[in-house]
Amino acid sequence: MAKIRKEGKKTVPAISTASLPDIIFMLLFFFMVSTSMKEVTYNVDIKVPEATELQSLEKKSLVRYIYVGVPRHEFIKQYGRETRIQLNDQFAEVSEIRSYVEDERNAMNEDEQGLLTISIKADKETQMGIITDIKQELRQAQALKISYAAIQKN
């Protein structure tokens, strides 16, 4: 026979939150390991094109980025809607690429200078004219290893 319950208030024991910090720390470490810091804030809008045969860029320290796209909303007044180039945090002209590459290369260790890779992150609607200009500048700057940034297409 079942026991007859006594009338009266039943108190639910409080859930122990002692392990909460541990759980959160675990999440924290997961994110610290699996993500990487943003390189810069984009001044241009970039939706990279899709491709299937991608290779990942191995060493972050050897990679420099060139961003190409239409200026973001807040910069349109100042820079217009023409496709622009961004180096580090600033807008730049095609002619500035050579000195940028040379500066970046000189800042690297001597034995790594030949491994410098330029990653071109360009919006998929960009016209090839500006990309061709960039490529020509990179050739002149002897930065021959390049990578066209893209995302995996399923």
């Binding site: 994110f31 610290m32 993500t35 943003k38 290779q55 016209q127 004219g129």
Partner: protein, 199 residues
Amino acid sequence: MGKRSVQEINASSMADIAFLLLIFFLVTTTMSVDKGLSRRLPPPLPPDQKEKLKDLEVKERNIFVVLINSKNQVLAQGQYIQVEELREKVKEFIKNEANDPNLPELSEVEVEIDGRIEKVMTTDAHIVSLQNDRGTTYQKYIEVQNELVAAYNEVRDEYSRQRFGVSYNELTEDRQGAIQKIYPQKISEAEPKNYGGNK
């Protein structure tokens, strides 16, 4: 002296601190790993050599010309085709299994496979030339580049399966190097030309 008990540190704010750190990392980092199509640009031409280059003719059968115009239409070997068809055509071109006189000429290459030097017939002299208009969109250009790389990867993979019984990606570096020598990736991004139209 009596034993004084050390008061326990209150750890209830630990969770808040951890949360704060967590949110900081969530905001400032990005998940995506950088990926892309790796390419090697040709070295710059010295100004006095620009004229000379015209003399350096490559046999016509060894060149596979891909053109993309400003309306994103693809012309391969003089034929208007869709991007999807490009891969098969390039594969056929690189392999030239039937020794077709219209496809690149076969030549003997010495390759070291597993310590032994072997002679393999390959289309060593072939070049895939990609030319685009200034008005081509970047997406189309990448799509075409992607198809070209895919063609090479498939040819290498097929050879690897036939020869070693496993896919190209599972091979040791030495073997991969050997296959790369048999099917070298030769995609030339030609000097820019302006095919009419405004700049």
